[in-house]
Symmetry: C2
Subunit: 419 residues, 2 copies
């Protein structure tokens, strides 16, 4: 072990891992842009007061906190939502809806453990200024499209609406926020434990029974008779539009009245995308209509969803390889190195990723390197090739070779792209 390691909870991404991460980020960005989202970037750190203003106690403990040399209290961002709300509050004249994506790193001072890191890569989209469930539909459908492009097939969207849950719980006369916190643990700790915890919170037996019955509802229509106020009915309507909208985008959807979502700032529709089978949450989000106002902006509705890039890497279905280099030009002697550089120039111009020797190594060493780096194709360049104007493109895995005329190098690109 050498002197210095990456700090606890962080890790390096060597090329093989970075190529996977970039695959996800490229698919996300391409999709986000096709769906009309524009890029935004914000600083890695923010005022500590901003980060802790609206995010609840749990997150507060997870922030990397530091002071700058003028004793300003700062913290590394733990999501992209809080900084974006600050940007919108600071720029009231941004055309609405403001549709933005943000790709990058966030930090949480979590307990590190198996597969849990303190630095991770996220891809977010949000629509700001659109109050209706059509905007919720849009962000969820767009996230589903990203997942499809990555290669996930067996996933579904779990949806619920905060207004429905609050309305029902307030109708019972119980502390809605406190009960929601407990119900949120249903999948983790199970029915019995949830009931026990609710008892501990002083909820009456009958109410616990009603709550558990409500939490098991999986169809909107069955929730309707239990909702008595306008706010709850608004939630029902919003959830219904989201459900129907997602079906139009061919997304599998399930209503789940037990779903609460941890973050305290959600105000309407909330959603999670689940990998069926593993029941792993791959993506999540919701509507948060009061946060921008809380940061000093005009009252502005907002909704968004967040993809955990590092987690999605596990679902990639295509073989990506250890390197982006497609063709290695191996020179037989120092003289043919010049020819390699010339060929490299032409190949790069037509978009082929090319490498040649910069270490004056003998041919055998160069080919060892090609194999150890996992480069798929090699062309050996010597006097013969220079004179004849014909090179052989060798597939280093299968051993097969194709003869290609130097004046027709476009064929190298075709072979590389096709196989």
């Amino acid at each position: 072990m050498t002197q210095f390691q990456p700090p606890r909870g962080t890790r390096d991404f060597l090329p093989e891992d970075m190529i996977k991460r970039q695959f996800i980020l490229d698919k996300a960005r391409e999709t986000f842009e096709q769906w009309g989202f524009d890029p935004l970037d914000t600083p890695a750190f923010e005022d500590f007061a901003l980060l802790t203003a609206k995010s609840g106690e749990a997150v507060k403990d997870e922030i990397y906190y530091f002071k700058d040399k003028s004793d300003r209290e700062l913290g590394l961002r733990f999501d992209f939502t809080v900084p974006m709300c600050r940007v919108v509050a600071n720029n009231p004249n941004l055309p609405k809806p403001f549709r933005r994506y943000q790709l990058g790193t966030v930090w949480r001072y979590d307990r590190p453990g198996a597969g849990r890191y303190r630095e991770f890569c996220q891809a977010d989209i949000d629509i700001v200024g659109a109050p209706g469930p059509e905007a919720d539909t849009e962000v969820v459908a767009c996230a589903c499209e990203v997942l499809r492009k990555i290669g996930l097939s067996n996933f579904y969207v779990r949806i619920n609406n905060r207004k429905i849950i609050s309305s029902f719980l307030e109708g019972l006369g119980v502390d809605a926020v406190s009960v929601m916190r407990t119900v949120d643990k249903l999948n983790k700790i199970g029915e019995d434990e949830v009931e026990k915890e609710l008892e501990g919170k002083g909820i009456k037996k009958d109410d616990i029974k009603s709550i558990m019955k409500f939490a098991k509802i999986r169809e909107i229509d069955r929730a309707v008779p239990l909702i008595k106020d306008d706010r709850g009915r608004e939630g029902i309507d919003e959830l219904y539009v989201l459900l129907k909208g997602l079906e139009k985008f061919s997304c599998a959807v399930e209503v789940d009245m037990s779903m609460v979502r941890g973050l305290e700032y959600y105000t309407g529709n909330i959603f999670e995308i689940m990998q069926r089978g593993s029941e792993l949450t791959v993506t999540a989000g919701g509507r948060y209509d009061r946060m921008i106002e809380a940061f000093g902006g005009k009252p502005t509705p907002a909704t968004g969803i967040s993809l955990g890039v590092d987690r999605l890497v596990n679902f990639i279905q295509v073989e990506l390889g250890k390197t982006g280099v497609e063709v290695y030009l191996a020179n037989v002697d120092e003289k043919s190195r010049e020819k390699c550089m010339e060929l490299a120039k032409q190949l790069r111009e037509i978009g082929v990723n090319v490498e040649y020797d910069v270490m004056q190594r003998p041919l055998v060493k160069q080919l060892d390197y090609v194999n150890s780096r996992g480069i798929k194709y090699a062309i050996v360049v010597g006097e013969k090739e220079t004179k004849s104007g014909v090179v052989k493109l060798r597939n280093m895995q299968s051993g097969s070779e194709k003869e290609i005329e130097v004046r027709n190098l476009k064929r190298v690109k075709d072979v590389v792209d096709s196989e």
Copy 2:
């Protein structure tokens, strides 16, 4: 002014600015990959001890320092070179040459001022394990190619070699590092001030004269007779290969014996790419053969170059616009919104960036939005278009319209790409 602003020395990148930054990053990445560099990512923060180990006093004061909750001393990275050397030291079996690029953010706690920020975006390439000047040539030529793709035309590469300067100064019997620090200021403070500072350092009149004469050398051949030892002659040979190599890549090159480059870790060829006229350094780097060893790795030569992305944004020659959205589908009524979503799906599938209304706004408001956001094309969709199967693609800037059959939407892509 609202409650929260970006922390001092940082800024937000709204879509218009992010689109420019991404243009640079995309060109850099595309070029780096074509030239056989693979991506690497490292944590945003590192052990403070690592950051300060080899980087000299000046950088030490510029690091964002903090402690984590276990009292570990950490700091935000100020460049990509130090973390990469740690990675190479930790992974001795990486195939060599290890050619990597890294794109991302670095932080320096600089005095903020006009156009000076504490958080900036960088694009680096390095070749590790190749000792010769061919590798220096490769990184510089690749950086020049990025600059050309961005649209810079009038630039040149200033080169020098640390071995030559050291050899010459040590030959005089003066403190080479101390003198280099003063000579490095030549462009900033001028000849008279440099001479004064050297006098202040106790350098003899005759030696100052020799140093100033040496610093004015702009041709390798004129330096040769002044170099007396093997190390200096090695430097001459390396600089010569770099010069000739860059000329082969059609890069304008100037040897400049006054160029030193601030960072203390350079050991051989050093280079800066200058915008002619402004004489602004747009890119810089050099060879640093001893740093990996200093971090506990095997002795491993390395060379690299770094592009300041935020500075390069000023040199973009193409019009990039305020948004990535290419076509807005405006619906005449709620019924035709469905048709918009259907058309959007088809257009996105062929790679067109599309947006439609998610706010149930009347047509006039939708078109106001199209203009305020700077979207170039709009298609108005109503009953007529749905029935006839023909839509009009309107250029919102020129007012010109093109009729396009819905069964032939590929034409939308052609128009968008061609204009």
